[in-house]
């Protein structure tokens, strides 16, 4: 232990007993998340159960000047939970109380360690759903979803986590507890601190309770698949679909590399000869859904080589599950995957897709692309041999070009995965020096000692 004094550890033990881990093996396990290439072990891991315990941990951290990195399930893809300066990792995985699901007010109140999947199942018992629906929902936590402003497979119609967070309870670095927002649909008293904390990646406060809006479970949902010769054709179809009527819930696409990887894992009978697959779907009242899906199929018909509608709910679930496992399925074909998250205005999607393909070729990198096409959000994923440093360097160089081009097209370097440590070097290119300075001042207002997740946002 170099960063933390024995006195600080003793204080933590006095507060939490055996929920304080210091064995080197345990610390190593907390030294990484789902991001490749980034690793650093903390000096101590704590597992609080309540807001009061979190506040106690923060007071100890402040007293002893120890950095604190909050960690949910550690499924983030931007090294946001890698404790670059050591110190304390505060795990929320035992804060799993689901305090309330209210049908009447259409909301839920829960602790941050509840998984999105568990919340969804609880909501379902009241005929409601938790909208954000990220691909990682069975594993990732609500606290993590809020702190990264996660998106999902129905963002086009429903938006992302930001739109659903009504109120938060959070602990500031000095141990003070604040409550922002609440159960109100309307509330403009003060700056919108709730939205400031959404996506703050554990750099401003530790979120200890979330009040989240739920929506009624739609009566029906239908999905279909259209195949295209190229990702460009699929992108044009996406643009035309959105232009032709109300936004549907789901427009997800993947290229040939991804189709092959997913088929190899899920065996759904996907067409391996296609250049692109577009998964389209909508939910709502049954006849409206039928009309919407028929319209999308019709718009695709001009360009698509094949169109298939899912015959059953089970078949639709299979398609969605296949899309959710896109990244790990890709990982089967190489020893390391580096995944990115650029987002562009939807009309520029076709251009961005073409640029990614050209860049991959230029740098000699194997890149598979999938993404939330309806949101203009692409996940180009490089599959490289980890033992070959030149290959990793080539992938990093390719992504450098891709980030810059996305920003030039009016897009962003990350749509939903966050900045963390991985994207921090590119942030200024997106925000400019004035905003970067303002970010630092905001960070300073919350966390004057710079203890929360140093080396990430606001640093």
């Amino acid at each position: 232990m170099d960063k933390i004094s024995p006195a600080a550890v003793a204080d933590l033990r006095a507060l939490l007993g055996d929920r304080v881990l210091t064995e080197p093996g345990a610390l190593a396990a907390y030294g990484r998340d789902a991001t490749p290439l980034f690793r650093h072990a903390p000096d101590v891991v704590v597992q609080p159960l309540t807001t009061e315990e979190v506040a106690g941990v923060m007071r100890i951290a402040t007293r002893h000047r120890v950095p604190v990195t909050t960690r949910g399930a550690g499924t983030n893809l931007c090294a946001a939970t890698v404790p670059l300066s050591g110190g304390i990792v505060l795990s929320t995985m035992r804060m799993t109380a689901l305090l309330e699901v209210s049908r009447e007010e259409m909301l839920t109140v829960c602790q941050p360690g509840v998984t999105a999947g568990a919340l969804n199942r609880a909501a379902a018992t009241e005929g409601l759903i938790y909208v954000p629906d990220p691909g990682s929902k069975e594993a990732s936590t609500i606290g993590g979803n809020v702190a990264t402003c996660a998106g999902g497979l129905r963002g086009l119609k429903y938006g992302v986590t930001r739109q659903y967070v009504l109120g938060l309870e959070a602990v500031l670095p000095d141990g003070e507890v604040i409550r922002t927002g609440g159960r109100l649909v309307k509330d403009v008293a003060g700056y919108d601190l709730t939205r400031l904390l959404v996506g703050s990646e554990g750099t401003l406060a530790v979120i200890t309770e979330i009040t989240m809006a739920l929506v009624p479970n739609p009566a029906a949902a239908r999905y279909g698949v259209a195949y295209f010769e190229s990702m460009t054709d699929a992108s044009v179809a996406v643009r035309d679909i959105v232009a032709s009527g109300p936004a549907p819930a789901t427009l997800e696409f993947m290229d040939a590399v991804c189709i092959a990887a997913v088929e190899d894992f899920a065996h759904l009978g996907l067409r391996l000869d296609a250049g692109a697959l577009l998964l389209f779907g909508d939910d709502g009242e049954p006849d409206a859904v039928d009309r919407s899906v028929a319209r999308m199929a019709e718009v695709c018909a001009g360009r698509a080589t094949h169109i298939e509608l899912a015959a059953s709910v089970a078949a639709a679930e299979d398609l969605l599950a296949a899309r959710r496992c896109n990244l790990p399925a890709l990982a089967r074909s190489g020893s390391m995957t580096i995944l990115e998250d650029v987002t562009v205005p939807r009309p520029k999607l076709a251009e961005m897709v073409a640029f990614v393909a050209a860049t991959a070729e230029k740098h000699g990198v194997r890149i598979g692309t999938f993404g939330h096409a309806g949101d203009g959000n692409l996940h180009p994923t490089a599959v490289v041999d980890a033992d070959d440093p030149a290959a990793t360097a080539a992938a990093v160089a390719a992504f450098d070009d891709i980030f810059r081009h996305a920003v030039d097209l009016g897009g962003t370097i990350t749509g939903e995965h966050g900045v963390g440590a991985a994207k921090l070097p590119y942030l200024e290119h997106r925000l400019g020096p004035e905003q970067m300075a303002l970010l630092r001042r905001i960070k300073g207002a919350f966390d004057p000692l710079g203890l929360l997740n140093p080396g990430k946002l606001g640093s």
Binding site: F265, L327, P328, M336
Partner: protein
């Protein structure tokens, strides 16, 4: 990710491609029963793979206490494999890990005598004779009943009843252990040797009444030569009937049968035909028996069992059916202690009892 394993010192404990397959996505966390117990990353599949990587690179010394603790706390149930989209073969990784971690004098003392017994064919044969497991029988088929080593001593009726349910099955008492016990307890080579020897001794198809043995044997001698009893009986269309008062019957899956071989529908189908089948909420997850786990990790095994028994009680079952002798013993112990009205029975014994 393999950046963890590319360090100059590689200990060659693990097959590189197996270790490289994990992308640390964390999808396996909610599936793992030991992670549910502790909420600590190092007791999760992903955390354990991180530990394996640190062992492989030498970043953690071989005698590290977390390595020792976690290699033993893991149930080896392989529930993590079924949800892993990257296709990580966790069961194989664990075998390689224990091969290192539990080799020779590092093996938990309590499992050593078990391995010694299972190594000796003549002891098993004597056990079978004393306890009257199925007798030697030659048939015209190329299909032989496997006599589980501890099953012969603990549940001899199972092999007798399977031989009675299907008269075409040959029985050869001169057979040894399949080696699953060894492979899961730090002696991979012996485990594989025993499986190969069994495969040579019993040519053709081998029918087994233990899910755990089925998975190990299939892994070594090939899936095409191994059939688990419920798979076999479903195929044979064995004549069984419903009782007048429909029994409420639940099932405890065998982890390796379900997660390793993908066999879980078959026993449900057989039970559905003869009883009111009730799916227990955690039927598919480990009961805490897990081979030698109930001996090595008494406390955790009991904690997992307690939840299971509570579920069985809540379901108000007449019978809970097992497809693996280890699970059967574990459930019987738990039900007896809680004075439950529910009885635990092996699927073969149950079906034999349903014959008209």
């Amino acid at each position: 990710m393999s950046e963890d394993t590319t360090s100059a010192v590689s200990k060659n404990v693990f097959s590189k491609d197996l270790l490289d397959a994990c992308i640390s996505c964390g999808f396996c966390l909610p599936a793992c029963p030991t992670y549910a117990l502790t909420g600590q990353e190092q007791s999760s599949p992903r955390g354990r793979i991180t530990l394996m990587r640190m062992l492989e690179t030498g970043e953690l010394p071989a005698d590290d206490s977390t390595l020792a603790e976690e290699s033993s706390l893991c149930l080896g149930c392989r529930a993590c494999e079924t949800v892993c989209p990257a296709g990580v073969q966790y069961g194989h990784l664990l075998e390689e890990w224990r091969d290192e971690q539990w080799s020779g004098s590092k093996r938990p003392w309590i499992v050593r005598p078990l391995l010694l017994v299972a190594n000796r064919k003549w002891v098993l044969r004597l056990l079978g004779l004393a306890r009257r497991s199925a007798r030697k029988r030659e048939t015209s088929t190329q299909t032989t009943l496997m006599l589980g080593c501890f099953e012969r001593a603990l549940f001899p009726s199972v092999s007798r009843n399977l031989a009675a349910l299907d008269p075409t099955l040959a029985v050869d008492p001169d057979q040894g252990c399949c080696g699953a016990l060894h492979a899961h307890n730090g002696d991979l080579e012996q485990g594989r040797d025993l499986a190969r020897a069994l495969g040579e001794r019993l040519p053709g198809t081998i029918v087994t009444t233990s899910g755990g043995c089925a998975a190990h044997l299939a892994d070594v001698i090939g899936r095409d030569r191994v059939v688990e009893a419920s798979e076999w009986l479903l195929k044979q269309n064995t004549d069984t009937a419903k009782t007048e008062r429909p029994l409420r019957v639940g099932l405890q899956d065998s982890c390796h049968l379900r997660n390793g071989l993908g066999v879980w529908q078959e026993p449900r189908e057989l039970l559905g035909r003869t009883a009111t089948y009730v799916e227990l909420p955690s039927a598919g997850s480990c009961c805490g028996a897990a081979g030698t786990y109930a001996l090595v990790r008494k406390k955790e095994s009991k904690a997992i069992l307690a939840k299971k028994i509570a579920e069985i009680e809540a379901a108000d079952l007449d019978l809970v059916i097992a497809v693996n002798p280890g699970c059967l013993r574990q459930l019987q112990t738990g039900l007896r202690k809680s004075k439950s009205r529910t009885k635990a029975v092996h699927i073969v014994d149950y079906l034999r009892g349903r014959q008209p």
